[in-house]
Symmetry: C2
Subunit: 440 residues, 2 copies
């Protein structure tokens, strides 16, 4: 077992050194990381070949699934993607230093609220080794230290990548090597989860059980999502072609992802015309339908849906279908069974849409658009840390803004609070000062 105390202590020290550094220094470190990955490509690929060989044996022995093996494999093209990814992060606008609140409290007493890094981010992710590079880049860009724990099947690859990144940082003359730390053993996760003193945020990337475990076992804030139980509601005023297209896209464009739809809700007035057409299009894509009673009156051969179906994230070619009386029932169903991730309405009725957008409690709510758009890249955020379904700090697809917070900086000329209290107290001016720009 690694010395988690030493790793966390070094990460916190590195974070304190990194916090006051300028964008130039952080971007220089990112460029050094990109160059180092390019020049160490052979060593990284060799480490990955060894990981892959071991994984193939496990797959052959039935001890690992084929998709995990596929996510593990690196190629020259994937290395080139990693390098491009690091440079794309470097090219993003600086998330630090922006002034989001500023007032002249009194003559000579100036208050600014300035964006600053969180400190130490612990990221725990599964097989894909490119996640390591992506998260390390986003952390360096936002002035945070990263403690990284990858999947055991990618251990050799992750070691090679972390070595490369740490050597690149050491040589960049600014950002310290300890800003990137690798944690290797599964047993160390538990120790990480209790380090409130040195870890400011945990980002878990993985399945429902994995993320739930992390949330259950730590008092450190967690940014992410466990389930993605997303719905599409076809209103009575929906255009039927559009409704079929959006249902098919939201369900089948990529089934194994959190923003794919798991339940279709249909207004009873639209059901008789819409459901047969939707069923035909969905079945052409291989989708199994599980319907409520009213659905099965129309689609007789749909599998009967149980209560459990409304709470299940299939991540598979299965769709539960429920006929509802009206918009209110659809919204109630979603707010009760949804996971606050991504929800959609299809309707030509603007007031129904406005009501849905305002009343559905979810991170992303779509009107006449696919749930699959809920993604940091598609939303134009440049890079995605993950998708969060809690309501604190950052919600939905989270970009660099999820890795920063702010501090208040007050500069005075010897101002004491006594002058502003009691008899003859001076009043505060609270005169707004210009925002934006850099305030450090």
């Amino acid at each position: 077992m690694a010395d988690i105390d030493a790793i966390c202590g070094a990460a916190r020290e590195a974070a304190l050194l990194l916090a006051p550094m300028g964008a130039d220094e952080r971007n220089r470190a990112l460029e050094a990381m990109a160059v180092a990955i390019e020049s160490d490509a052979d060593a990284i690929l060799a480490a990955n070949a060894a990981d892959t060989e071991a994984a193939e044996k496990e797959v052959a022995a039935g001890e690992m699934s084929q998709p995990i093996l596929e996510r593990l494999v690196l190629t020259e093209a994937k290395i080139a993607d990693m390098v491009r990814g690091v440079r794309a992060v470097a090219a993003l606008p600086d998330p630090l230093g922006r002034v989001s609140y500023a007032v002249l409290m009194d003559e000579g007493l100036r208050l600014r609220r300035v964006a600053c890094p969180l400190g130490v981010i612990a990221a725990i992710f599964e097989s894909r080794p490119d996640a390591l590079v992506q998260i390390a880049s986003l952390c360096v860009k936002s002035g945070n230290a990263a403690v990284l724990k990858g999947g055991r099947e990618a251990l050799g690859t992750n070691r090679a990548l972390a070595d490369t990144l740490r050597r690149a940082l050491a040589g960049s003359g600014g950002v310290p090597a300890d800003a990137v730390q690798l944690v290797e053993a599964r047993e160390d996760i538990h120790a990480l989860l209790s380090r409130e003193d040195s870890i400011d945020l945990i980002i878990p990337r993985g399945g429902n059980e994995f993320v739930s475990y992390i949330k259950e076992h730590s008092h450190i804030p967690v940014l992410g999502h466990a389930a993605g139980i997303c719905h599409i509601y076809v209103d009575k005023a929906a255009g039927l072609d559009m409704a079929v297209n959006l249902t098919v896209d939201s369900k089948t464009q990529y089934v194994a992802v959190c923003n794919a739809v798991e339940t279709l809700l249909v207004h009873r007035d639209a059901a008789r015309e819409f459901l047969p057409r939707a069923a035909e299009a969905l079945r052409a894509k291989g989708v199994e339908l599980r319907g409520c009673e009213r659905t099965r009156e129309i689609i007789a051969d749909a599998v009967p849906a149980s209560e459990a179906d409304w709470e299940t994230e299939y991540l598979d070619l299965i769709l539960s279908v429920r006929v509802v009386d009206d918009l209110d029932e659809a919204i109630r169903h979603i707010n009760r069974h949804g996971s606050r991730h991504t929800e959609a309405i299809v309707t030509a009725d603007e007031s129904a849409a406005e009501s849905f957008l305002a009343r559905v409690d979810a991170a992303s709510v779509m009107w006449n658009a696919s749930t699959r758009f809920a993604d940091g890249y598609r939303f134009g955020l440049g890079a995605e840390v993950g998708i969060a379904t809690d309501k604190i700090h950052a919600r939905g697809p989270v970009g660099l803004e999820g890795l920063v917070i702010y501090k208040y900086l007050l500069t005075g000329e010897g101002h004491t609070v006594s002058e502003y209290e009691g008899e003859g107290a001076r009043p505060f001016l609270h005169r707004p000062l210009p925002l934006g720009g850099h305030g450090a």
Copy 2:
């Protein structure tokens, strides 16, 4: 024991009804609350008189402290303050609906990120019954439902206040009465702490042990602070009069609060001239000094400080004093022993000040100003939910912005993700759209 399931369920229902309501409806509810407190003043004062009588007996029996009794007592003037407070919250700008990000993803595909309520806020506070009214007002203003647990000594008063507020809401014709819920028994706190399904944020207001207990026993996000171990650092380039004034103000202007200074750090080059003058001024206010060895070479009769002193929040007329070699040692001491709450430097050296502001890891950092300014009202935030020392969501003095989050709203014309993937994929435009205003 109350039915916490029913209370939390009703609060969540109320939050869902409240979320889409406009500012007019929420402000009308606040005005109804203000009017109701005014007209129920006699009943509230009568309930408070009974609480006070019981508390006086406990004080006489040595079972309650005098300050708790003092915080409990309501008067007509305090009722008038409550009413003014509710109206002041109503007059604040609407925290909801603001658009903080907006892009045209493609023709006809418009994305907005719109401020919305968190949902259900659980506030757990000690004796002051005015906290109930203040937190309920801030929650209604920000579209959240409030689950309120006050101190046992104020139970009768809190019941009267909650009844008044709930009746006012019921009569206001908009915001539902269940948006304000009272939890009465101490045993119910534990049940509240495990209701991740219906509570979105816990705001604990009380001492260090109380807040630490809440944080330790819940996986729900907590907004607040446990300790306030604040420092003032007197640099070698400090003006000595200013340094003495700021030290006295930061330590003694009000000792029992989180933003009062607990440790004085002094540059060794300033110590010999500054410390005797500071000691004289502090002792004139009754402050006991506990010094490191180098301090005691100058202030011979200071009590020797132990390691524990650097980690102690006295909340009393006691100040630990340490002589440091330079700015770096001062910053290291603060980042190691501080509670990330409020820190101050006194210096005429701008570059030393900039370094301190950038490198000290705390929610509020002051240059030539008292630590006692760290307060929502003084910072011009209008109303304060509390002071937060974690780094997630909201930090430092937190106003209404700590009670809101955002949701992404995407409106399309039938756009599917398939069009933007694979061969012949359409590119995204990601053209920025105007921000601000109201986006609901």
